[in-house]
């Protein structure tokens, strides 16, 4: 049709007018490091696996997870989840229950028999891993994936290290532990148990290993000198828990005092309750705020009838009566004597005052530096002896299972780089996606799903697992609480809110791009991006 001049125009002709010339700043898409990923000692891509779980892709989620950590069912139970502590959602309502979803995925993998990714072709290199705790298992897994042959040795009759001998079954059922360990062993690992390595250098040479990873843990319970009668039952917590794990629990009597304020002290007290102690009292020299044990554990212990004497030290124990001295905190927060004493009727005293590492096997390695009772290592976990790496509790660390898993991964990468003659440069990390970068208005309101807890009565008397798992619905819900901090999750907000239609949607999984021919630089997309994945940068010139 002939159109009247000027008055009637053909549709969409304004695309000839490139309003991008109005712009003084331009939006750009960025990826920032989510605080959970940043905080995870195992280096998990938490946001990545939550993203898969959000759409119900649990196996895909689990596969993202085990890229970094082969023990999700275990970590989903024993990890103290610094990811949740740093979770930005905590500042909206409550942190995402990352740990619970991890456990859900781990359990699902066991239930469905998902197998770990197949190892890379054989490299012909051999690595000796000493110690089958979380660090050793993690290193073994990652080394196998890289195609290296691994011999995994442990002094105990069964694999697991502190996971098995330090963590009570009510926190970590043995079936779960066994299943995840078996899955790693199934990757083709040479396992040697009941074998304590006496000399690393000799062992390496004899076995013609190209590298060694030392992950012997901290198995020796620290003792302090407490005046005690000969008949007094005094046992260290590590030995106590180890014997319980070996089905050989010591007889402690009905009134048990545990001395110490860490998680091990709580494990010991709670285990004592389960073994029949009517009174399990923790004596700790400072107050609750300063207790190193995790608050969640303390809460559960108190719920089970464990009592705590805050601000008290053990003075002496004659086998029936324990004398404690009351303390007070000075201005710096350190405990000081008060000179006031009190007696507690006590059948046994469990010392939970920390653990030490037995490093005698390193005596032949003059180059390995031991300081403060632990092996000094580089960022890639190599000791000062080339080819000898160390991690877990034997290296400087916070001595948690998750840190150990992270050490194992880093050591495996370090060993791989060492074997290839390369250097394993730490990867560049994006800036952290802090909460002030988010627009949290967009996230649906949703409190956190609570893992059901066993009824208290039941859990006081047996070793059944205390904290239950999430149902599928619950796990999905929890995963969807993730804010996807700092990484586009394709919510279409930028695409929708642009008044100039200057955002191009590239299709599922492909995210978006800006059409700078038309973007006027108003910045609405940045302001309304829920997860802070867009930034304004000044135009050049």
């Amino acid at each position: 049709m002939e159109r009247p001049f000027a008055i009637t125009l053909d549709v969409g002709s304004s695309r000839a007018n490139h309003t991008g010339s109005w712009r003084v700043e331009r939006p750009v898409y960025v990826d920032r490091l989510p605080p959970c990923n940043d905080a995870c000692p195992a280096g998990e891509n938490i946001q990545g696996w939550l993203y898969e779980a959000e759409s119900g892709g649990y196996e895909a989620a689990w596969r993202v997870l085990v890229e970094d950590n082969p023990l999700p069912a275990i970590m989903g139970r024993v990890c103290f989840h610094p990811c949740e502590t740093s979770c930005n959602r905590a500042q909206v309502d409550e942190a995402v229950g990352i740990n619970a979803v991890e456990r859900f995925l781990g359990d699902a993998a066991i239930e469905h028999g998902w197998s770990l990714p197949a190892p890379a072709p054989d490299t012909g290199r051999r690595v000796l891993v000493i110690g089958a705790g979380p660090a050793g298992l993690s290193a073994t897994y990652h080394l196998r994936r890289l195609g290296h042959a691994v011999r995994l040795v442990d002094g105990a009759p069964r694999l697991g290290g502190m996971l098995r001998y330090g963590i009570p079954a009510y926190r970590l059922p043995r079936a779960v532990l066994d299943a995840e360990i078996a899955r790693i062993v199934d990757l083709g690992v040479e396992v040697v148990v009941d074998h304590s390595v006496r000399d690393v250098e000799a062992e390496r040479r004899d076995g013609a290993f190209d590298a060694v990873f030392l992950a012997v843990g901290a198995q020796i319970g620290r003792r302090v000198n407490i005046p005690a009668g000969d008949s007094a039952k005094v046992i260290d917590a590590v030995s106590f828990l180890h014997r319980v794990a070996d089905d050989d629990p010591p007889m402690l009597g009905r009134r048990v005092v545990v001395y110490g304020g860490g998680d091990t002290a709580l494990d010991a007290a709670r285990t004592a309750r389960r073994l029949g102690a009517t009174e399990a009292v923790i004596v700790y020299r400072r107050n609750r705020d300063r207790m190193p044990a995790h608050a969640e554990e303390v809460e559960q212990a108190l719920g089970e009838g464990v009592s705590v004497r805050w601000l008290a030290t053990v003075d002496r124990f004659d086998g029936e009566r324990l004398v404690i001295e009351k303390m007070r905190l000075n201005a710096e927060g350190f405990p000081e004597s008060t000179g006031e004493f009190e007696e507690l009727d006590t059948d046994a005293l469990v010392l939970a005052l920390g653990q030490d590492t037995d490093l005698s096997l390193l005596e032949g390695n003059a180059n390995v530096e031991v300081r403060d009772g632990v092996v000094q290592v580089t960022p890639t976990m190599m000791t000062h002896e080339r080819g000898v790496f160390a991690g877990g509790d034997a290296a400087p660390s916070d001595r948690t299972a998750t840190v150990a898993v992270g050490h194992g991964k880093r050591a495996a990468r370090g060993i791989d780089a060492y074997l290839r003659g390369a250097t394993d440069a730490p990867r560049e990390r994006h800036g952290v996606a802090t909460v002030d970068r988010l627009n949290t208005w967009y996230y649906a309101d949703a409190p956190r799903t609570r893992r059901p807890e066993l009824e208290r009565v039941r859990r006081q008397t047996n070793f059944e697992e205390v904290v239950g798992g999430l149902t599928e619905q619950n796990a999905l819900f929890e995963a969807r609480r993730c804010l996807s901090c700092g990484n586009c999750f394709e919510c279409d907000n930028c695409f929708g809110v642009c008044p100039d239609n200057a955002v191009v949607k590239l299709g599922a999984g492909q995210r978006y791009e800006f059409n700078y021919d038309f973007c006027k630089g108003c910045g609405i997309c940045v302001r309304e991006c829920p997860c802070g994945a867009i930034e304004m940068v000044p135009e050049r010139i």
């Binding site: 049709m1 002939e2 009247p4 001049f5 000027a6 008055i7 125009l9 549709v11």
Partner: protein
Amino acid sequence: MLRQLEGSRAIAETVALCRPEVVCAYPISPQTHIIEAIGRMVKDGSLAPCEFINVESEFAAMSVSIGASAAGARAYTATASQGLLFMIEAVYNAAGLGLPIVMTLANRAIGAPINIWNDHSDAMAVRDTGWIQLFAETNQEAADLHVQAFRLAEELSVPVMVCMDGFILTHAVEGVDLLDQATVDRFLPPYEPRQVLDPDDPVSIGAMVGPEAFEEVRYLAHLRQLDALDQIPVIADAFAELTGRASGGLVHPYRTADADTIVVAMGSVLGTIKDAVDRRREAGDRVGVLGITSFRPFPIAAVRRALSGARRVVVIEKAFSLGMGGVLATDVSMATLGSTAVLSTVVAGLGGRPIPRRSVEETIERAGRDQLTPLSFLDLDDGIIERERGRMARTRRSGPFAENVLRDLRQAKEGRP
């Protein structure tokens, strides 16, 4: 079929034969009878399909017509006087958008003072809007012009206003030969819009046009009006061929061939003038009359041709431009440029003031004696004027003179000084 009926009724029935699809109505005298009748026909189903919409103002009436026309419907409305002024923004807009709306203007004076009777002030107020303005001499011609108006509007994509004198024609009952549907259908094809809102072919209609193109847009609209000068006679001829009636066209000369003095006028007064001309002819004066049917576009060439032999041109018009003089006369003067003819303007019939044949004859006589001033007012009551001028001279604030004039008239009637 020739019938004796009211002018408005004749218009209504003729418009209905033109199959309008959307008709808007807002009451204003003296146009009301037309739309009332159309409304009735839509309601009883005799005019279908047609949407008859009672709107809340003339502004809305024209706006609804704009929307309907832009969406491809044949749109019609009618108005007068204040109503036309109230819709004037939309009147301009309809023309600017090139929408072939047809509107009856029942010519009426414009207030204040408010006045419901006939003159041409309303039509003159919109002469620059871009509408074609056709003036009817009789109800027959008024009816016929509507049929031609739809065809003209739609061929050129320009709106057309058919002007007929309020009351004098609209309310006069006289013989009108109404066409039948088949004849009208033969003459007027269905509306095929030049531009239309259509989901299957989207366009943007009504863009903002800046200095870079506005003058061109306006010039093109002017050319469209010049095209109409060609089309109007063609359509009138076609109509004449079909009906045998000489309705429409650009001008209607009457006894002008050998005339020394030619009166120029528009609308129903032409009949009275023709009578006066005949009387003067009987008295031996060589006079004639030129009726202007197409006021916009103004047929300069046709007027010049018709007036070429005259020594005197007398424009009798029912409107004037205050502070200047005749409106039609100004246009006529463009047609007599270069000629030696003397042009006089006689303003007559304002606000329904009767125009008696005798007064017209006297005017012609005076013209023949070269006694007409360039601008005069027919049958002006000089006494009233003098009294009001005197009052204004005495006191600076003499009040609204309309009221003064009415008081004077009352006093005169009651025989008081």
